[in-house]
Amino acid sequence: MKISFNINNQNRELELNPNQTLLTVLRNNGFTEVKCGCNEGECGACLVLLDDKAVNSCQVLAMSVQNKKIKTVKGIGTLHNPNLIQKIFAGTGADQCGFCSPGMIVASYSLLKENSSPSDSEILEGLDGNLCRCTGYIKIIEAVRRSSSVLLKNNVEAE
């Protein structure tokens, strides 16, 4: 069956089965920027924004979110028009293999949009659903801190 969603500000009709997760539906329909690391809601590689809140798309049945607003990492910024957080992630070495990056960016964006000056413990809490084996998180945390200070300096919200 075909169900409509608003993905990255575009209305889309996606083919799906009623038992499929949002992750499966997104990937089957070309949104491969949403990664699958565990399919059990435990790694965060599949994070998307659902009505502006970060969720594990592998833990959401697609049928339950029809007509809702979904944003993937590409809805936050693209190669040709990257978001500030994405630029800072790349510039800080917060990306190694990059497989967790789409989810990390979604988590960081969601955190900073809600709170542009998070404390260290708020940063850690905001990233508590995202696993990374490459970086040891040190440069990821640093990238979120830097993003926050640039946002504050320019007195803008995460966009």
């Binding site: 059990e40 990257p82 190694q96 293999c97 967790c100």
Partner: protein, 781 residues
């Protein structure tokens, strides 16, 4: 001074990664693609008497079932190593004996993944259950033979005895251990255990294949070893190498786990047979159970030393649980000795004995650290024990006894990888500085005074603090075995194609190799279009393992870029009308040297040079292809310091602070080098404290999800500080050695030493789970 080296240059694929633009194996979708699911054995040891796949095959959408019934029984090793491999040929793709829970029974290819998964449930397998070996210490003398009459054999002339369940055996001795041990004033004999672990690369293993327009097989795979994949698939699927192309796209982390050829032959067989694209992606549970792991180890150290602390004799006896197959069994084992024993190179009597035994448990394989992690757990503690017993400060002890520049160890020659090793002299080390800086930055001397069992701080306190350290070394590439090559050609706008067989699995090697070429050619990194790991378009490279890419592939790129430089200078000189010795390169130009009388002749840009070489005179393509083999494997060094707090009521160890000083030669990219160290340290800490495989009484892994396995999140990491302390390695590119593996080795011994400092007791068994720690705390010293 360097221009592009030792700089925090952004990864060339960085923005594409963080915007979700890069493609990983599972992101490739093809028209008409088949999806494959694997049926894995639920028994640790069983013989398949029959498989009835008729119901499954009748299901709409099911295209094929592969099992021992229709797949040729060709022996191979899944280990992606140099050929002939030092790992035994003891594996068939789909056999009729199941040797661990997770072994391959059969594969279903279907129109959708859902259909393939449902079809698995319709396959009836008739098993004859066999008694399994589930404890590796019982394997050698067991009546149960795991590889019985299956023809398993060693590909190279090394000891191998399947009738004794021995997948590998290594022995080496320098001097006379026994005599020196007996004559020593003090003796230590201690047994240590390290556990299973999963690599936990965030991207699960995956492979996709299709037939190209000319009928060749193309495999896209999450591999660290594309050229080994091509060779091994050719062997198993009986398809000529000329008909196979292997592409490695972006890889979501490897750490050794993707140095195995597991999925590629399966998709290859399906595609070759059906002529349709095929995809196989492991679930996380399959990665845990069916892919490869860190080997479980028992190490026994015997050390004889004098009252003043001088060690006369050391014997390391290692017992390795290879699991069901012997992938990397021999080489991980030999590295347990060769990466530890040379560190204290002044010990005159050294002995290494090791055995790798089969069990009916998940297979070991390559894992960051590769034997060194397992052996340093005991090594780092026995050195601490010697120092404690002899009243030596361990920092001063390592300064005195550790290997220095200009020195060698007989172990380098005695312990190779399946053959004799390569003698070498260490010519680069900043180990003393690493020790000093680390001691200073960690507050070693102050804290040593403050902590300790009888300190006012710790005595009668529920929470006890301690500090510990460990000194480490590893290697850089496998000498005289590993080969890397690079190809560079120049384009008419002054850009270059850099094609390398080297495999960037998230490490940033594409960027690092471009930086090396940049430095040689004095032109920005973004002038390089890097293509890596495509067996059709890039020259051979053994692959991303053995801490080799920067050191070995980097040197190939350096040599190649130098040849390009020569050609550019020649054309430049011709264009300027001066002699070759009057020109040099500067900022993407060929210039006349200031010392020359022809200085006023100006300069020509790379763009003009290439254009000239294409169209003007004596036309040719500026290009070069170069190979490189290293005569040695220069060790990187590291010193790790850790401060912990032990809750003596619960047994919980909390890491308070971690300081690492690392000598990787010249760090080509400082950000990426730090990142390698930080990632390895966090992995090392979680391995020491939490990570493990828990098995049922039938050999089934019980904690096969991230949530149950236990991985650190950002919220769990302690403060960690890495200090890179350069040395200069003449045989490496711009002085570089390696950094990827070494830093996973420190947490086990350093935390255990800190625990001793805090409590006066020692931890001999990893992981240091709170229940085990509590047991140790309650035990008599």
């Amino acid at each position: 001074m360097f221009k592009y080296i030792k700089k925090p240059i952004e990864k060339i694929d960085g923005l594409a990664l963080v915007t979700g633009n890069e493609k990983y194996t599972d992101d490739f979708y093809f028209e008409n693609m088949l999806h494959i699911s694997i049926l894995h054995s639920g028994y640790a040891h069983a013989k398949i008497e029959d498989i009835d796949d008729s119901t499954a095959l009748r299901m709409p959408g099911v295209v094929d079932v592969l099992s021992y019934k229709n797949v040729k029984q060709i022996l191979y090793t899944t280990a992606g190593q140099g050929y002939p491999e030092p790992s035994p040929y003891d594996t068939v793709l789909f056999g009729n004996v199941m040797r661990f829970v997770g072994d391959n029974v059969c594969a279903v290819a279907a129109e959708t993944k859902e259909i393939a998964d449902s079809a698995l449930k319709k396959i009836k397998v008739k098993y004859k259950r066999l008694k399994p070996i589930l404890h590796f210490e019982e394997s050698e003398n067991s009546k149960i033979i795991i590889h019985k009459d299956d023809g398993a054999f060693p590909k190279i002339p090394v000891y191998y005895d399947a009738s004794k369940n021995l997948a590998a055996k290594v022995e080496a001795e320098v001097g006379n251990f026994e005599e020196a041990f007996q004559n020593s004033e003090n003796k230590i004999e201690q047994t240590f255990f390290t556990q299973y672990a999963s690599h936990c690369a965030l991207e699960p293993h995956a492979a996709v294949s299709y037939i190209d327009t000319r009928g060749r097989l193309v495999i896209i795979s999450t591999t660290q070893v594309p050229f080994h994949v091509r060779r091994i698939v050719s062997h198993i699927a009986e398809i000529p190498i000329s008909k196979i192309r292997v592409i490695k796209p972006r890889i979501g982390g490897g750490f050794g786990g993707k140095q195995e050829v597991l999925l590629e032959p399966i998709v290859a067989l399906v595609t070759w047979k059906t002529k349709r694209p095929a995809k196989l992606v492991y679930s996380r549970k399959e990665v845990f159970k069916s892919s490869r792991t860190r080997h479980e180890y028992r190490t026994i150290f015997k050390v004889g030393f004098q009252k003043d602390g001088k060690i006369n004799a050391m014997h390391l006896d290692a017992l390795e649980n290879s699991g069901a197959y012997g992938s990397h069994a021999l080489t991980v084992l030999s590295n347990a000795g060769s990466k530890t024993l040379p560190l204290l190179n002044k010990i005159e009597n050294l002995k290494f004995t090791g055995k790798g035994v089969y069990t009916n448990l998940p297979c070991g394989g390559a894992y960051r650290g590769y034997g060194a992690t397992e052996a340093y757990f005991g090594f780092g503690q026995v050195v601490d024990m010697v120092c404690e017993a002899s009243g030596n400060d361990i920092i001063e002890y390592y300064k005195k006894w550790a290997i220095k520049s200009g020195e060698t160890s007989p172990i380098f020659k005695a312990l190779g990888e399946g053959k004799e090793g390569v003698a070498m002299t260490v010519t680069s080390t900043s180990l003393n500085e690493c020790l000093e800086v680390g001691a200073r930055e960690s507050g070693w001397y102050e804290k040593k005074k403050l902590y300790g069992v009888n300190s006012t701080l710790n005595k009668n306190n529920r929470y006890k603090r301690g500090i510990g350290m460990a000194d480490l070394m590893q290697g850089s590439a496998i000498p005289e075995i590993d080969m890397a090559s690079a190809y560079i050609k120049m384009n008419d706008d002054g850009s270059f194609n850099l094609n390398v067989g080297a495999t960037d699995l998230g490490t940033g090697s594409d960027t690092i190799l471009a930086q090396i070429a940049s430095e040689v050619l004095d032109t920005p990194v973004d002038k390089f279009i890097v293509t890596s790991s495509d067996t059709d378009f890039t020259p051979f490279d053994t692959g991303a393992y053995a801490s080799s890419t920067t050191y070995l592939s980097g040197q190939a790129v350096l040599k190649c870029a130098k040849q390009i430089k020569e050609q550019i200078l020649k054309v430049g000189a011709e264009m300027l009308g001066v002699s070759l010795d009057e020109v040099d390169i500067l900022d993407s130009n060929v210039v006349v040297k200031p010392s020359s009388n022809n200085e006023n002749k100006g300069e020509v840009s790379y763009q003009d040079i290439c254009s000239y070489s294409f169209y003007q005179n004596n036309q040719f393509q500026i290009q070069a292809a170069v190979s490189h083999v290293s005569p040695k494997s220069p060790p990187p060094f590291a010193v790790h310091f850790v401060e912990i707090e032990v809750d003596t009521f619960t047994g919980i160890i909390k890491v308070l602070n971690y300081v690492a000083t690392v000598d990787c030669g010249t760090p080509i990219n400082t950000t990426l080098a730090e990142g390698q160290a930080e990632g390895a340290i966090v992995n090392g800490i979680s391995y020491a404290l939490f990570e493990n495989y828990y098995f049922s009484n039938h050999g089934k892994m019980l904690n096969d999800t991230f949530g149950k396995y236990g991985m650190y999140t950002a919220a769990d990491i302690p403060p960690i500080k890495v200090h890179l302390i350069d040395s200069y390695e003449e045989t490496g590119p711009f002085g570089a050695k390696s950094i990827s593996e070494i830093n996973i080795n420190g947490a086990l011994p350093a935390i255990a030493n800190a625990f001793y400092n805090a409590t006066g007791k020692r931890l001999y068994k990893a992981p240091f789970s709170p229940e085990y720690v509590l047991k140790i705390l309650k035990s008599n010293p």
